[in-house]
Symmetry: C2
Subunit: 82 residues, 2 copies
């Protein structure tokens, strides 16, 4: 059984208002040493038993087709045994 | 300069309707070998120069106070040089 852990982040050039809001909230709690806060998604998919190679191909495919928006987001993922 | 990468996930016992919706969407695209999809947050914080030890303490603190909801979420993080 394999598990794909996918990290989806906004591209560096894209503004992240949610991250900015969290940064301000943290600052108002007294955390002053923050330079930037950015918020992405962490998607975990449990895959029914397949080869790691097939899981890798399929996960990349799912990211491109549905999970990530390639205009504004980058993705990377790891396939792990579970 | 340090960077904290924080993974926030729903606890195993908590239902994840967003993940379920994404699972159904993937299945309707023809991906059949999925057992479970869960969606969490990936928060990246760039910290102004500090010791790794202080960054670790502060990040744990921020997670407990604001970033994660301990009733329904788990968090873990890594501090990296950048």
């Amino acid at each position: 059984m394999l598990k794909a852990e996918i990290k989806i982040t906004l591209r560096k050039t894209v503004a992240d208002p949610q991250g900015l809001t969290v940064k301000h909230a943290l600052e108002s709690l007294g955390y002053k040493g923050l330079e930037e806060v950015r918020i992405g998604k962490l998607i975990t998919i449990k895959l029914k038993s397949k080869s790691a190679k097939e899981a890798e191909r399929e996960t990349g495919d799912m990211c491109k087709k549905l999970l990530a928006n390639p205009i504004i987001e980058d993705f990377k993922f790891k396939i792990r045994k579970r």
